[in-house]
């Protein structure tokens, strides 16, 4: 039996596994995918200063360290259920059931779809799927694509497709309806893009810095945003056009684009069809909580972190004994933050296992998470730091409530017994 089971071999899970093994714990890492690295594998972008971040190389570095420590990593192993019994976690997979006293959930994030007529046609995929096909499997998702959803993530992946020689005809908004509200609002989307302008493509920055001085100018900015889009690496980024339908009989053949008002309403008569043989939908990322949702761990919905996030502290502990979290399950951020969280989680686990002398290094690791966040080139949500502050506040409220409850605990038990 291992001391620690980690579910997810992405940047958080691998970093945690390495650190935990360095602390002398026996570690088992499980991942449903065929390769370690998680979403790190697909990443390829130029950092300010001209250095390239290549996810495949970064994964290789982590794999080497893991191999040197003889880490047990089981790939292609999907976890279907987790249960805790007599202080031990039981992890059910499609192969066998594993047990350990500590469990770290590093299950990452999932992509939200967008609701556009035709989204169920073959040839429509999430933007992350197109990234994995292109960068990991080296298979072109098609010859000419349209990306629906304008965000830092979708523009970064558009650039990656461009590098791979795949024609991206346009990046446009989804049509406005009850499902697509946020992503379909031109003014809102522009606002969120300009908040991350230090990462956003330089054309946005040039265009934005002139117009974004105040709210009035911001309104003007979206009003006068060129209908044909602003070109970025030759790809038109369209904030005033929305895809209102994906067309095709057996598979994707094209999309219908229409001009939209500043609040996302279609301008009648502005529809035009463009040809494409694949469509990527970029509805945003949300923390993948399906496994932790089975543990009874409390949740909080925090928009800045991407959705429902399990309650946790900066040491990556949850209120559930022996249960820890790291990476995008705690909120949507970049791979570097995930790695630093993995290290902090592993140090917490080792300390709680009784390893001595880890307090200082754990404190430093927690500080390093914050520092990594502040220096991040990609922020998926402009107010991510505020989201983290809210989570910390929820944790403190939880702890205070526990202290109030603690002395009464035996009384509650007695009442239950009397009831029986």
């Amino acid at each position: 039996m291992a001391d620690l089971i980690i579910i997810g071999s992405g940047p958080a899970g691998l970093s945690a596994g390495i650190t935990a093994a360095e602390c002398g714990l026996s570690v088992l890492i499980l991942d449903e995918y065929l390769k370690p690295g998680g979403r790190l594998l697909g990443q390829l972008y130029e950092e300010p200063g001209g250095k390239w971040w290549n996810g495949i190389e970064e994964t290789r570095k982590l794999e080497k360290r893991a191999a040197a420590l003889d880490l047990d990593i089981r790939l292609g192993t999907a976890v279907s259920n987790i249960e805790k019994e007599d202080g031990l976690w039981h992890v059910y997979t499609d192969r066998e059931t594993f047990t350990a006293p500590s469990l770290l959930l590093a299950t990452g994030a999932a992509e939200s779809p967008v609701a556009i007529p035709g989204w169920t046609l073959p040839g429509v995929m999430s933007v992350g799927a197109a990234q994995v096909m292109t960068n990991v499997h080296r298979v072109k998702p098609g010859s000419r694509g349209v990306i629906i959803g304008v965000s830092v993530l979708s523009s970064a992946i558009a650039m990656e497709l461009n590098i791979a020689g795949i024609d991206v005809a346009a990046i446009a908004l989804p049509k406005m309806n009850e499902v697509n509200k946020d992503g379909a609002n031109p003014a809102g989307v522009m606002d969120s893009l300009l908040h991350v302008s230090h990462m956003a493509p330089s054309k946005f920055v040039q265009f934005g810095s002139k117009l974004m001085q105040n709210d009035f100018m911001k309104k003007l900015g979206i009003t006068f945003y060129p209908k044909g889009g602003v070109k970025m690496w030759g790809i038109p980024v369209m904030l005033r056009k929305a895809v209102i339908e994906i067309c095709g009989t057996e598979q994707v053949e094209g999309v219908i684009l229409a001009t939209v008002t500043t609040n996302g309403q279609v301008v009648p008569g502005s529809e035009q069809r463009i040809d494409a043989d694949f469509v990527c939908i970029a509805g945003g990322l949300y923390p993948l909580a399906e496994l932790i949702g089975l543990t009874g761990c409390p949740f909080h919905h925090i928009d800045e972190l991407g959705g429902y996030v399990p309650l946790h502290n900066e040491q990556m502990e949850t209120p559930v004994d022996g249960l820890y979290v790291a990476g995008n399950i705690t909120g949507i951020e970049g791979a570097k933050v995930a790695m630093s969280q993995g290290v902090a989680a592993a140090l917490s686990i080792a300390r709680n296992f009784g390893r001595q002398g880890l307090d200082d290094i754990l404190r430093e690791a927690v500080e390093y998470v914050g520092e990594t966040r502040r220096k991040a080139h990609i922020q998926f949500h402009p107010e991510v730091a505020e989201g983290r502050r809210k989570m910390q506040q929820y944790w403190e409220e939880y702890e205070a409530a526990q202290e109030r409850i603690a002395p009464e605990e035996p009384v509650v038990e007695k009442e239950v017994l009397q009831g029986v």
């Binding site: 279907s80 259920n81 007529p117 009850e178 499902v179 949300y286 496994l291």
Partner: protein, 90 residues
């Protein structure tokens, strides 16, 4: 194709029109919307449509920010009947 006829839950073939109409008629939260329409109750366990069902419900109800709106149930991945039967016997 109109929005009305667009499939949201592929497993149970529930349309956008059905979801919006049900939400408006009953003013229901995500769980009730799921139970009334079966959206999210198919073999994928709502892995694909969860956020879209949630979004429709949130147009008529306040989001419960302290509880996941659509509960997760095991198994969270498809399991072979043979394996399911074998649990506890290996």
């Amino acid at each position: 194709m109109t929005d009305k006829d667009m499939i949201i839950c592929r497993c149970e073939e529930v349309t956008y029109g059905e979801l919006v109409e049900t939400a408006n008629e009953y003013g229901c939260n995500a769980r009730e919307l799921k139970l009334r329409t079966r959206a999210g109750m198919g073999y994928c366990g709502g892995r694909t449509c969860r956020n879209m069902v949630d979004a429709v419900a949130c147009t008529v109800t306040e989001r419960d920010s302290k509880q996941v709106t659509l509960k997760y149930q095991p198994p969270v991945r498809p399991v072979h009947f043979g394996d399911l039967g074998a649990i506890g016997h290996d």
